[in-house]
């Protein structure tokens, strides 16, 4: 039986594969996978999914391990082991507003993909806000007058800048993480320990 690893498609997938290759794992079948969503190598089975679905596959034990952004874990709080940070996918969560626009002195409206994180952030501050859930291009919301500000992940800040927004407050720092199914880690410990150890060593070197 081979360990099953669920990978977040896109940038995290690419960065993980580079990192995995640096640990001397064979990633050749994964590079040339085309549109396949499931690929088997000599040592592992890989499945490719959206970040939030990676956590679902791991939580349900379909995948033993998962590689996913910490923003997803913070937002959805899946019931998994959150084992270790990986040396890529660094970003932060920020409250951003339109540059030069007055922050209104009334109950504010915040647009975000991350409604749970937004709710917790303003609760911690002791402020009541209305939250509008958006699925993407959140930067549009203040510009078009849907919201007073946004809560979103920021990597370089270029997208914010190009859309006339500035960071008002940063409050969480994230990286990609390796997660594990709670039962698999125990039952398949002999199978999973070597790869987790290799990831740990790789992180320490970086």
């Amino acid at each position: 039986m081979k360990p099953c690893i669920a990978l977040t498609k896109g940038r995290i997938e690419k960065q993980f594969l580079e990192f995995f290759q640096s640990l001397n794992y064979d990633i050749e079948p994964l590079i040339n996978k085309g549109r396949k969503l499931r690929v088997e190598t000599d040592d592992f089975q890989f499945v490719f999914a959206k970040g939030v679905d990676v956590t679902t596959y791991v939580e349900h034990g379909i995948a033993d391990l998962g590689i996913v952004g910490e923003d997803i874990l913070a937002e959805f709080q899946p019931d998994v082991y959150n084992l270790l940070p990986l040396p890529f996918g660094n970003c932060r969560m920020a409250l951003a507003v339109e540059e030069g626009k007055e922050w209104p002195e009334r109950k504010r409206c915040i647009a975000s993909k991350y409604t749970n994180i937004t709710k917790a952030f303003f609760k911690e501050k002791g402020e009541s806000v209305d939250i509008v859930k958006l699925e993407g291009s959140v930067e549009l919301a203040p510009i078009l007058g849907l919201a007073d500000g946004i809560v979103d992940i920021v990597e370089t800040g270029n997208t914010l800048k190009e859309n006339g927004l500035i960071v008002k407050e940063s409050f969480m720092e994230f990286s990609a993480r390796c997660i594990a199914n709670r039962s698999s880690l125990k039952i398949k410990r002999d199978l999973l320990a070597p790869v987790i150890e290799a990831l740990q060593k790789g992180v320490a070197v970086k």
Partner: protein
């Protein structure tokens, strides 16, 4: 008409498996001198949300009664039984229960459990009896490929007693340990304590495996009396399970409690083939403090739905159909009793012969009934 998400009508095999799981549980516990107990399905929310039980109201199915009090569908057996046992004579030590619990954070909201609670019993005897009841029950269910995990709340409590943590910091550290999040465990511990404890807690995250893990830590903690006592206790239980032939005993020294009332040994059973948790439990003496009682209490609950899914029901009983008529129905009914171990159905017009191993037809000849095989 539609069903809410997660709910489902059930027919056939699943129901038979569940009935069998309950029936075998009843036999096993009766043979081991447990007395059955049941509590109402409707309780006051405070029974479960008070500081001793510590459950989250948001996950319960609840409503206001006419007096404005919050009532809930039973979300947990252990707490309800603790409430009920306070009024029972202490001479009865072993209790068993079976029935549903309801939680809004679980798919389908209703899940079926069967479990045991042992009170007023010395620590090792109570814990051994709980675990051996589990082994006995799984054996009777013919579920052989499982793993039993042992943990202990005292390890985390003892190590963190050296740190100057506020309650909320301690809770964050406990959550980080629960998630085996090494980096955060180290971060919280180093910010508030000293490096030695931070390193020790971080290493503890990975301290799970066979009984060898205990032996390694016996050496590491040779000068720490409390921790050494805990290891000795865990080792005794692990050895007992091994002697009884449990296929895989695992210890997790980094496991922390997920319910506030656990205080001591914690155990859990996994089905190896699919990773499902088939039972969990532990010691919870503290739960009785709310009743001003100092009681030794330990118990575990089986997930009957998980067990039922893993049962192999072999239906080797012969299926017979007797084709009769309104006039010959009484004759056919008498005939049914002559088949001891078969499943016998009576029909007037048989449309699907393939569902039966044997079809008998009652025919009338010369004012007498006669049976012929089709």
């Amino acid at each position: 008409m539609f069903l809410p998400a997660g709910s489902q009508d059930e027919i056939g095999k699943r129901l038979i498996s569940r009935s069998k799981a309950y029936e075998i549980f009843g036999n096993v516990t009766a043979n081991r001198n447990y007395k059955q107990i049941s509590t109402p399905v409707v309780e006051y929310a405070t029974t479960f949300t008070n500081q001793y039980a510590g459950m989250e109201l948001q996950n319960m199915l609840k409503w206001f009664n006419r007096d404005g009090e919050i009532e809930v569908l039973r979300p947990d057996w252990t707490t309800a039984i603790a409430r009920a046992l306070v009024n029972q004579h202490p001479s009865q030590l072993k209790w068993s229960y079976q029935g549903s619990v309801f939680r809004s954070d679980k798919a389908g909201m209703e899940s079926r459990q069967a479990g045991v609670e042992i009170v007023h019993t010395s620590s090792f005897l109570g814990e051994s009896e709980c675990l051996l009841t589990a082994v006995n029950y799984l054996d009777e269910l013919e579920i052989n490929d499982y793993l039993i995990e042992l943990g202990h709340t005292g390890i985390f409590d003892e190590l963190t007693s050296h740190l100057n943590l506020t309650d909320s910091e301690l809770e964050k550290l406990r959550e980080a340990m629960h998630d085996k999040r090494r980096d955060e465990v180290y971060q919280i511990a180093i910010t508030n304590g000293h490096e030695e404890v931070a390193n020790e807690l971080t290493q503890l995250v990975d301290a799970f495996g066979s009984i060898d893990v205990i032996e390694k830590y016996e050496d590491l903690w040779r000068d720490q009396e409390i921790l050494l006592g805990i290891l000795k206790h865990m080792k005794q239980l692990a050895v007992l399970l091994q002697e009884l032939g449990v296929p895989d005993v695992l210890v997790d020294l980094g496991r922390v409690k997920n319910l506030p009332y656990y205080c001591g040994i914690m155990f859990r059973g996994f089905i190896r083939s699919n990773g499902n948790t088939c039972f969990s439990g532990g010691r919870y003496d503290k739960l009785y403090e709310q009743f001003d009682e100092s009681i030794s209490a330990v118990g575990l609950a089986f997930d009957v739905d998980v067990l039922a899914d893993n049962l192999i029901i072999e239906n080797d009983r012969q299926k017979i159909c007797i084709v009769a008529s309104e006039q010959s129905h009484a004759f056919a009914e008498k005939l049914r009793t002559s088949f001891d171990n078969a499943i016998v159905d009576i029909q007037y017009n048989l449309t699907d012969e393939d569902r039966f191993d044997k079809v008998l037809e009652v025919i009338e000849e010369h004012n007498e009934y006669k049976v012929v095989e089709r």
